[in-house]
């Protein structure tokens, strides 16, 4: 007993000696953070806002690393500008997340377009589905917002809190984490560098020569994530030999519905973006995309109108497969939209922006977390932009990660511990994979033009149109309220 106490004394006093001198160094060590977010895009900024908002995480010291000059500016959006072609369709779940963190009020100050109807059909003319927000007693199905509006809103949101964040206008060059070790105990100091050597901090080096340390590094740096690469996360994925052509177009009147038509080479979507403008996301093969990018404007407008109307095939008739009668036995209560007829989208009269082309790919990180490193958004999963779900999955990641960090703070965990971060992975990975798989099925189903398959697809459309529990389930999933695609609608 006596010897035990004596040893206590010795170690305590040894520590004490160093602590006195080190504590001062520690306080003016500006490069040590709780969280370093690499990538200040919408997903990374949403994480920062969410951390700033939650009572348990608002004390955290956060660094945001991004060389994008937009992070340094405030409110650079001119309302008179025509809509930027880079838009996102945000789901009701994302909207309520933005409301929670206090960012939605800034979006409302800019151009945004709610829509309460959606029509999906295909070129074979065999079937169509119309969705109405009132089917599920909601006001809206979603909202289309320009990415720059999302970004500046999040930036305004975080500027208006007293959150301790530092923006590094630089790029990540390297990242290091030493294995956890207490073996340096003898020369114990609490200097940042010593904490790094003990595996209690990750080190992040920047292109401007600065370096910083953090308990947790968040890779929010997009599909080509360097964090993912440096941390050694493997990915699964492939390129679709497809490109998306995106642009803003103008109508004679305001569009209030989201339209999507499946064409042989891929879907074309026409999304309302406010005023008399719509956004086009048109998926096609790379050869076509370069043609469509360069063809003259009038011809392009004509092609778009053609693709959204009679091009490739006739309009679907609701009775072509017996429709409502065929499904009458499992319709349950009738949805409002089941009685809505097929409509032709509003005509495009003018191109209102440059045409931009993006290659499409699918990529999924096999793991989202390791010690002191976590991936969110496109860094963890890049999806087909089919249903505009990509960015919503990213926001769900931000939301989930901030909650997990708060849970960790609540019980006094080290927020970089992998056992804590796994909770985030366990929540998000199955949900992201489910969405990716579903989009992949759609993608594959439309990459083949084959008679029986076409009829099957049409039957699926009709089923989705007429079977109300199924329809409600689809809407609920697409709005982000339900995390798993088909909780069997018949039993729900």
């Amino acid at each position: 007993m006596k010897s035990g106490v004596n040893r206590c004394q010795v170690i305590s006093c040894k520590k004490n000696e160093q602590e006195d001198e080190v504590m001062q160094n520690l306080t003016d060590d500006g490069h040590q953070y709780d969280v370093a977010i690499v990538g200040g895009g919408v997903v990374g900024m949403a994480l920062a806002c969410s951390l700033a908002h939650l009572p348990l995480t608002k004390h955290l010291k956060v660094a945001i690393i991004d060389s994008n000059p937009a992070l340094g500016k405030r409110n650079c959006i001119n309302k008179e500008d025509r809509p930027d072609p880079r838009v996102s369709t945000v789901t009701p779940a994302t909207i309520s997340f933005f409301k929670d963190i206090g960012a939605w009020q800034y979006i409302q100050q800019h151009r945004h377009a709610y829509f309460d109807k959606m029509q999906v059909w295909d070129y074979t003319g065999l079937g169509y589905t119309r969705y109405n927000a009132r089917d599920v007693n909601k006001e809206i199905l979603g909202c289309v917002v320009e990415n720059k509006v999302l970004h500046s809103s999040l930036l305004s949101c975080i500027e208006n809190t007293d959150f301790r964040k530092t923006i590094y206008p630089s790029k990540l060059t390297s990242m290091a984490l030493l294995p956890s070790s207490s073996s340096m105990g003898v020369d114990s100091t609490l200097l940042t560098t010593a904490l790094f050597t003990k595996g209690r901090l990750a080190k992040v080096e920047l292109s401007d020569g600065k370096s910083l340390y953090a308990k947790l590094v968040v890779g929010a740096d997009g599909g080509k994530s360097l964090v993912r690469e440096l941390a050694g996360f493997k990915t699964t994925g492939w390129n679709y030999s497809q490109n998306a052509v995106i642009c803003t177009v103008e109508h004679t009147e305001e569009n209030r519905c989201a339209w999507q038509r499946f064409l042989p080479a891929g879907p074309i979507a026409l999304l309302p973006i406010g005023d008399k403008f719509s956004n086009i996301v048109w998926t096609m093969n790379p050869k076509e995309s370069s043609d469509y990018k360069t063809m003259n404007e009038d011809e392009f407008v004509k092609t778009v109108n053609h693709a959204l109307d009679y091009g490739y095939g006739s309009h679907p008739k609701s009775s072509s497969l017996g429709g409502r009668d065929m499904f009458s036995w499992l319709r349950g209560d009738v949805t409002i939209s089941a009685d809505e007829c097929f409509e032709v989208p509003p005509k495009v009269i003018k191109l209102a922006s440059d045409r931009m082309v993006f290659p499409l790919s699918l990529k999924h990180a096999n793991n989202y977390v390791s010690k002191r490193v976590v991936l969110i958004g496109d860094a963890a999963h890049t999806v087909h932009p089919l249903a505009g779900q990509g960015v919503n999955l990213g926001f769900e990641d931000s939301h989930a990660l901030s909650r997990v960090i708060a849970e960790g703070v609540a019980v006094g965990s080290d927020i970089g511990e992998v056992s804590l971060l796994r909770k985030y992975e366990a929540e998000r990975k199955p949900a992201n994979i489910a969405m990716m798989a579903l989009l992949e099925v759609f993608q594959r189903a439309y990459s083949v033009d084959f008679g029986p398959l076409n009829i099957l697809r049409a039957a699926a459309f009709n089923g989705a149109h007429y079977i109300s529990p199924l329809k409600k389930s689809i809407i609920s999933y697409a709005s982000g309220e339900q995390k798993i695609p088909l909780r069997l609608p018949f039993f729900s």
Binding site: V10, C13, G185, S188, S413
Partner: protein, 277 residues
């Protein structure tokens, strides 16, 4: 008295690295009934420096580098969440959530605060490698970890020292019974020790003795023996009358997570307060 005086001297030395501030608070919060505490405040805050200097010289000789390296290796297994102590790591957040909610309620602390335990002094009896002490320190508590195994204390100290948020934890190799002269705490926690204790009832009494009036006790164990459960809880509840809230832990093998339940048969955690009668 003579023995008590010696114990306090030792405590003072262990606490030395926190300096006079900690010491003063430590004793001034202890309300009456413990004349020993009030007697010792002044002399020891004055002698802090002296103690330091004396002991530093002996550091290098009394602790060999090799020995320390050996403990460091074990420390890493204690703290490897995938290692031999995995069940403990998995269960930890659940019991910490219980402690957080019961203590916040008892002491009227804000549960939405990141460091709700600021101002509370907690003794973790049977602290092992410090798996519980460290989170409690991050939650703002002034923590003293006590373990009868010298090796555990060394491991705990090494690990806590590598994070500024936990480096304030005091670790001491002793038993609950021996603590009572000098740990006058608001909250006492003892985890996973009851099953190893020869006389659980006596153990509970010594825990109660450590707690100040209005303080709280939390006991938890992975209860391998029904006897330990029965004696500890019966003793706690009926002899000392301080069990206020008790809950069981159940493990869900599908999710790999622990949650709280009404079934106290296997693992349990209990909370009690000490009130002025």
């Amino acid at each position: 008295m003579n023995l008590g005086w010696r114990m306090v001297r030792k405590l003072r030395i262990v606490n030395a690295r926190n300096g006079a501030f900690f010491n003063a608070r430590f004793f001034s919060d202890s309300t009456t009934q413990l004349p020993l505490a009030s007697v010792t405040v002044d002399p020891f805050s004055n002698t802090t420096k002296t103690n330091n200097n004396i002991n530093i010289n002996s550091t290098s000789s009394s602790l060999k580098h090799l020995e320390l390296a050996k403990f460091a290796a074990i420390a890493d297994t204690w703290w490897d969440s995938e290692g031999p102590f995995k069940p403990l790591h998995v269960m930890n957040p659940t019991r910490l959530a219980f402690i957080r909610s019961t203590l916040c309620r008892h002491f009227g602390k804000d549960p939405n605060c990141a460091k709700p335990f600021e101002g509370l002094k907690i003794v973790d009896v049977g602290c092992g490698g410090g798996i519980l002490s460290e989170p409690l320190a991050r939650m703002g508590a002034t923590v003293t970890g006590v373990d009868a195994v010298d090796k555990n204390i060394k491991i705990a100290r090494l690990h806590a020292g590598s994070d500024p948020e936990t480096s304030t934890i005091e670790y001491c190799c002793t038993t609950a019974g021996m603590c009572q002269f000098w740990f006058i705490s608001c909250v006492r926690l003892s985890f996973l020790v009851i099953e190893h204790v020869a006389d659980p009832a006596e153990f509970c009494k010594s825990l109660a003795a450590l707690t100040i009036e209005g303080g709280a006790n939390v006991i938890s164990t992975i209860n391998r023996s029904m006897r330990a459960y029965a004696t500890a809880i019966v003793a706690a509840e009926y002899i000392l009358r301080w069990v206020k809230e008790m809950t069981g832990f159940v493990y869900n093998p599908l999710t790999g997570r622990w949650s709280l339940s009404d079934d106290v048969g296997v693992n349990f955690i209990a909370f009690g307060t000490k009130n002025t009668q």
